[in-house]
Amino acid sequence: MRTANGRRGRWSLRALGLGYLTVLLLAPLVVIFFKTFEHGLAPPIEAVTSPDGLHALKLSLLMVAIAVPLNTIFGVGCALLLVRHRWKGNAVIDSIINLPFAISPIVIGLSLFLLYGTKGWFGPALSEAGIEILFSVPGMVLASIFVSVPFVVRETVPVLQEIGTEQEQAASTLGANAWQTFRRITLPAIRWGVAYGIVLTTARVLGEFGAVSIVSGQISGETETLPLFVEKQFTNFNTAGAYGASVLLALLALTTLLAMNVLKRKEDA
């Protein structure tokens, strides 16, 4: 009786869990791939390789090229400070770093919009100096950095805690200076954790929509990243373009997933 019940329970749980995943995640994804290539490869490829599409792709890559290295250097340094240097302020820094996880991207975008806008604290002074932040690339970069601040820190801290300090102590006893110890001992030990953080940062920067949409002004061919391009194409009823760019972004997301899995395995090994 018990086993029959248990078996029935197991199958109904499987049906519920996997059914839910199918309806919510897998089926929509399959349909969008199908719809994109319904009329062959040409329409989506044409849309993505149009001048505006290419520009959006380039701009998205530029965001990654600036925001990811900055947040990586900051993240590793900040993780070292948090784990290895006890300080009263650490708890405050730790909480601030988590903020971008919990704040709406729209709220982030609006904050930057207000700070650098014509009536904002910095806007007037900067525009007098000839520096435009809003509706141009610098503002979009600031938004991308804001939303992706936490990832490298959050992934590096637990690894640093876990590796301990014995090897580093040995290195410094043997006469290695701080930089040598870091480069030869610490960095190799935390590299997969950092790499995991970098992958998450990249995915977030590539996909960011809300914050960037507010500060960019969404000018086609000028301040449009790929996600903004998707929205513009969709609202202009160019579904081929919207689906084409979406599938490109989805493929990048799947690559991210793959990288996450590989790195996770290396980290555990």
Partner: protein, 307 residues
């Protein structure tokens, strides 16, 4: 683990540390970076929301449209976290306790909503549940669309928060309960559920925070009709119509909600690490760990736990 924890706690001179001046300089740099990137913009937001004084702030926040959008956001987010708490726990259970072909793939796919840009998530849902739906379900510009979009983007939180706890859980108690004649439901209610509660609570809080602020996926799928306008979309419409103070006021409400949820998560973690002497040493340093960003525990961890 214990050894690591004690060395980490060892006094000065242990391991790679920045020299004293370096640590000071580092702290200064970190503080400056976080101030410029995160704190100053948020300060500008708060200042703008109170520009017309407290009464203007209150008028903006209590305007019928603002209240309607906030209500819709909170109600939809609550529905979503309840559904995802149930299904997230079921999926986590399947991934830890069950064996079925394709399990590794399912485990990887869970993180897809973390990796997929939200605007693509919205468009993906439109492809299946939009006006040209191949299955004849039309959800675009309905409140159901808000719920489905939020379900999609918050799916991984509960799964990833509950999964490690299920892996760590000792099965002796369950077997003891079963041998004493407890039914499956009783075992779940009295033994499994209390053990999962801290992870479940943290996952739900994170999912709730994400749902409250979600924008991209809801924008296209649910549209900006007055009756489907969540707070983030409302804020956007206020910016477009030039009402910066109104936009900032509603943003501050969302910001406060985020802060409260983060505080709740950190309390939950402190409470659970005190209960079970966390192995990762977080109890000692007090640093938070986010059950997010696809920390899928692998089989190897299970082996380590057993050893």
């Amino acid at each position: 683990m214990e050894a690591h924890a004690s060395t980490a706690a060892a006094p000065r001179g242990s391991g790679f540390r920045l020299p004293w001046v370096g640590a000071g300089l580092g702290r200064g740099t970190v503080a400056l970076y976080l101030s410029v990137i995160v704190l100053l913009p948020l300060a500008a937001l708060v200042s703008q929301s109170f520009e017309g004084g407290l009464s203007t702030f209150w008028t903006q926040v209590t305007s019928p449209q603002a209240v309607r959008s906030l209500e819709l956001t909170v109600v939809c987010s609550l529905i979503v976290v309840v559904i995802n708490a149930v299904f997230g726990t079921i999926i986590a259970w399947l991934l830890v306790r069950d064996e079925f072909p394709g399990k590794a793939a399912v485990n990887a796919v869970i993180d897809l909503p973390f990796a997929l840009p939200t605007i693509v998530a919205g468009l993906t849902l439109i492809a299946l549940y939009g006006n040209e739906s191949p299955v004849g379900i039309h959800l675009v510009a309905t409140r159901a669309a808000v719920v489905v979009a939020l379900l999609f983007v918050t799916l991984p939180f509960v799964v990833r928060a509950v999964q490690p706890l299920l892996i760590e859980m000792d099965r002796d108690m369950e077997e003891a309960a079963a041998s004493l004649g407890a039914s499956n439901f009783t075992i779940f209610r009295r033994i499994i559920f209390p053990n999962l509660l801290p992870g479940l609570a943290a996952g739900v809080a994170l999912a709730f925070a994400r749902a409250l602020g979600e924008y991209g996926s809801v924008l296209l799928f649910a549209g900006g009709l007055p009756e489907t306008q969540v707070s983030s979309v409302f804020i956007r419409s206020q910016i477009e119509s030039g009402n910066n103070t109104g936009a900032a006021a509603v943003s501050v409400v969302l910001l406060v909600a985020s802060l409260l949820l983060l505080a709740a998560i950190s309390l939950i973690q402190r409470w659970s690490s005190r209960h079970e002497r966390s192995t990762s040493g977080n109890a000692e340093t007090g640093l938070t760990v986010m059950p997010m960003s696809g920390m899928s525990p692998t089989e190897k961890e299970v082996d380590d736990e057993d050893r």
